[in-house]
Amino acid sequence: MRNDEKPAIVVGAGPAGLCAAIELKKAGAPVVLMDENAKPGGQLFKQIHKFFGSQEHKAGIRGFDIGKELLAESLRLGIDVRLKTEVVGIELGLKVWAVEDRTKSYTLDAGKLILATGATENALSFPGWTLPGVMTAGCAQTLINVHRVLPGKRILMVGSGNVGVIVAYQLMQAGAQVAAVIEALPRLGGYGVHTAKVRRAGVPFYCSTTIIRAEGAESVERAVIASIDAKFQPIPGTEQILDVDTICLAVGLTPSIELSCLAECKQIYIPELGGNMPAHDEYMRSSNQSVYVVGDIAGVEEASTAMEEGRLAGIHAAWAMGYMDDQTMKIKTDETRGRLQALRQGIFGQKRFAAKERILAMRKDA
C-alpha cells in the first residue's frame, strides 16, 4: 500500500545521498534530492585516487569517475535534483523547509526523509592559526583537484590519517613540496599503501609531534613543531622550525548532525566514528522512524561504505512507502548489508565494524 504521493526527500547529494535517491527512483518512488552546492557529488569530485575493496565496490576506480557514474545514472533516471538548495528546517510530521539560491524559501511535505549531510573537518587552534595559509586538508584538496589552484609551495601536513597522507601525496602531484607530516599519536594513522607512497618520495614523518605555532607577518612563513610526551604535552627543547607557507590540518571529521537534531533523532557518542551522531538501526533508520541517516552523518567512514548505506536506506524507504514488496526488500537489503560487511572486514575495517555493531546493539536496547 502506497501511503501517498509525498516524495522521499534526500538531503545531501554526495555518494550516500545519490545512491539513496537512485534506489528510491529505481523502485518507482517519488524522490527529491536537495544539495546546498552548485554541483552534486559531494566530496567525490575531489577524490582522484583509486578506491579499495572488491569489484562491486568500484575498486580500482577513481572517486571522481564514481561521481560521474552516479550523476549519469541519476540523470538517466530523471531524479528531481535541486541544487543550491539549503535545508534550514525540519518540522516533525514531516515537512522540510528549504531555501533555494539564498532567495526563495519554501516548505515541502516528505513521505520519508533521508539525511546524507556528511561531516565537517575538525580544526586545531594554536597561536597563528588564523594566518592565511592555515587550512584544512579537505580545503587544500578542493583547491588543487576541483579548482586547480595550488595553495602553497611548501606544506606542513598535520595528521597522518588517510586524509593527511592522501592529500599530502596529491599536493606533491600538483607540484608542491611537503616539508613533513606530523602525528600526535605515537603511530601513523593512514593505510600503508598511501603512507608508503609519501614516505618513498622522501617526506619525513614525525610521530608524537604537534604544531606549537605558526609564524609570519602577513601569512604563514614558518611552523614551529615539537615532540610531545605521553600526556600530549610539548617537551621543552624539542622544537623544530620548518620553513613552510601552508599548514594543512587533517585532524579528523565530525558528523554534521544539525538536521538530525531538528528531526529529534536520538544522538549517541561514538568517538571512533567522529563523536556525536544519530543512532540508527540495521536499515539506517534513526530513532525517528520516518528519518534515515546515511554516510558520514551516521559515523565517519568512507565513500564506499557511504554509498552502500545510502542504498540500504533507499531500498528500505521505497519499501516503507509501498513501492517494493517484502521479499524484494529483504533480498536487496541482505545483499547490500553483505557488501557493507565486506567493506568493514580486515584490519583496517575492524574498528569501524565494531563501532557500527555497537550502534546497532544500542538501538536494540532502546
Binding site: 518540522e91 524559501s105 516548505t107
Partner: protein, 401 residues
C-alpha cells in the same frame, strides 16, 4: 544521596536566578542555585541584548528600569567578567501619522516621568540611521537606551556569586517540596535533598511547575518570540531600532489576549504572530532581527512563515538587509502575565517561599533591580519601590500545603 544545607535555594539559573544569587551572596547568604537544564537554557539565553527604557509604560516599570540602568553602569565594573554593556541610544521608527500621534503622546508621558526621549524628524534620523527606508517619516530618540550581552551577564553574575561561595547544580530539578518548622526541604531528582531557610522560584515561563509543588497556581504563560541572527556585518547605523508598531502592540495587552483566545486563523499573519520589529547589532557584528509574540505553549520551534514575516519586515525598514545572509534562527519563551507585571514577592500562605518571575521581555533589563528588591524582601529590608503591583497573590489563591 546527599543532604545539602543552604540559606537560600534558587530554582532557575536564568538572568533573574543568577542576579538574585549574586546579590544574596554579596549579602553573605549561602546560596544554592539549581537549574533543570543549564544556565540560560530558557528565555535568558534566547533573547536579544537590549536594555530599553523607551518601551516601558510610564509607571513603576519605567522607574525600575531607570534604577536598573544605573545599576548596570556600576555592575559593568563591579562584576568579575565583561558583560559588553554599551549605551548606544535607541530609535523607534514611525511609519505614518497615526503612529506619530500615538508616539507623541507616549513620549510626552515618558518625559513627565523624567525619561530623556524626543521625537526627531527624518533629517535627524538619517544622521543616526543613514540606511533607513525612504518612507519612514520620523522617529523617537533616546540617548539612554543601552545593551548588554545576556549570556555574558549571566556568566558574570554566576562567577561573582561563586567567588562568594554560591554553589550551582545543573541538570537537576526539584520534584517535591516539604515545609519544615523553619524553612523548606526540596527533594531533587538526583536523589539529593536540600534544607533551606528560603526558596526563590526564578523559573521564568516554567515558574508554575514550581509553585504547583506547594499547591499554588501562578498565571505565567510562555510567550514565544522568534528571532533571526544575521552574518556579521559592519554597523548599519548608530542606534538600536524598533518600530512604533512594536511599541503599540506592547502597550495594548488586550491585543495579545485576543491572540490567545482563539480565532487566530481569521487574523492577518502579522497579527497572528504578534509581529513587532526589534533590530540590534551585537558586539560581534551579527544583527538580531526580532520578534514575534505568540502563545504556542512550550513549543520552541521557529517556522518559515514567521521567519518570512520578520525577514520581509527588516527589508521594509532597511532595504539593504535583502543582501545580508541569515545564519540562524531561534525562539525563546518569555514568561508573560495577565497584567504585564512580574510576580515579585512571597507566595501567600508559604512564608519563606518567594517568586521572581514573569518579566516577559524585560527580564534582562530589570535583572539588577529585581535582584535588589528580592534580596531586600528576603533579608527583611524594605525595598525602595512599592511592591503591591508585583504581589504574587494579586490574582487570588493561597499555597495549599
Amino acid at each position: 544521596m546527599a543532604y545539602l544545607r543552604c540559606d537560600v535555594a534558587i530554582l532557575g539559573a536564568g538572568v533573574n536566578g543568577t542576579s538574585i544569587a549574586y546579590e544574596l551572596s554579596k549579602r553573605g547568604k549561602k546560596v544554592l542555585l539549581i537549574d533543570k537544564i543549564v544556565m540560560g537554557a530558557g528565555a535568558s539565553g534566547s533573547c536579544d541584548d537590549m536594555i530599553l527604557l523607551q518601551s516601558k509604560k510610564p509607571g513603576i516599570l519605567l522607574e525600575m528600569a531607570f534604577k536598573s540602568l544605573e545599576l548596570f553602569e556600576s555592575l559593568k565594573d563591579e562584576l568579575p567578567s565583561d558583560i559588553e554593556f554599551e549605551t548606544r541610544g535607541g530609535t523607534i521608527l514611525i511609519e505614518d501619522e497615526e503612529h506619530l500621534a500615538i508616539m507623541e503622546d507616549f513620549v510626552a508621558s515618558q518625559n513627565k516621568y523624567g525619561l530623556d526621549v524626543e521625537i526627531i524628524d527624518r533629517k535627524r534620523l538619517l544622521q543616526l540611521q543613514p540606511l533607513v527606508a525612504e518612507d519612514i517619516i520620523a522617529s523617537t530618540y533616546s540617548a539612554r537606551d543601552s545593551q548588554v550581552n545576556p549570556m555574558l551577564l549571566m556568566k558574570a553574575f554566576l562567577l561573582g556569586a561563586r567567588q562568594k561561595g554560591m554553589e550551582l547544580l545543573s541538570r537537576t530539578r526539584a520534584t517535591s517540596v516539604e515545609r519544615l518548622n523553619s524553612g523548606w526541604r526540596l527533594l531533587l531528582d538526583s536523589g539529593d535533598s536540600v534544607e533551606t531557610e528560603v526558596v526563590v522560584n526564578a523559573a521564568g515561563a516554567w515558574a508554575n511547575d514550581i509553585t504547583k509543588l506547594i499547591g499554588f497556581e501562578v498565571p505565567i504563560t510562555p510567550r514565544k518570540g522568534q528571532v533571526i541572527v544575521t552574518e556579521a556585518i559592519p554597523p548599519l547605523g548608530a542606534t538600536n531600532v524598533w518600530s512604533a508598531q512594536y511599541i503599540v502592540s506592547k502597550l495594548k495587552p488586550q491585543d495579545a489576549a485576543k491572540n490567545a483566545s482563539g480565532g487566530a486563523a481569521a487574523q492577518a499573519p502579522a497579527e497572528r504572530f504578534g509581529l513587532g520589529f526589534a533590530f540590534t547589532g551585537t558586539h560581534n557584528g551579527n544583527y538580531l532581527i526580532g520578534s514575534t509574540r505568540e502563545n504556542r505553549g512550550f513549543d520552541k520551534s521557529t517556522d518559515p512563515e514567521a521567519i518570512g514575516l520578520l525577514s520581509a519586515q527588516v527589508e521594509r525598514f532597511f532595504p539593504v538587509m535583502s543582501k545580508i545572509n541569515f545564519i540562524r534562527t531561534f525562539a525563546g519563551l518569555r514568561p508573560s502575565t495577565p497584567d504585564g507585571y512580574p510576580f515579585l514577592g512571597e507566595i501567600p500562605g508559604a512564608p519563606g517561599f518567594f517568586i521572581a518571575a514573569g518579566h516577559e521581555g524585560d527580564g534582562i533589563a530589570l535583572s539588577p533591580i529585581t535582584a535588589l528588591v528580592m534580596a531586600d524582601l528576603i533579608t527583611g529590608k524594605k525595598p525602595k519601590f512599592p511592591m503591591e503591583t508585583f504581589d504574587p497573590g494579586r490574582f487570588g489563591g493561597k499555597a495549599g500545603l
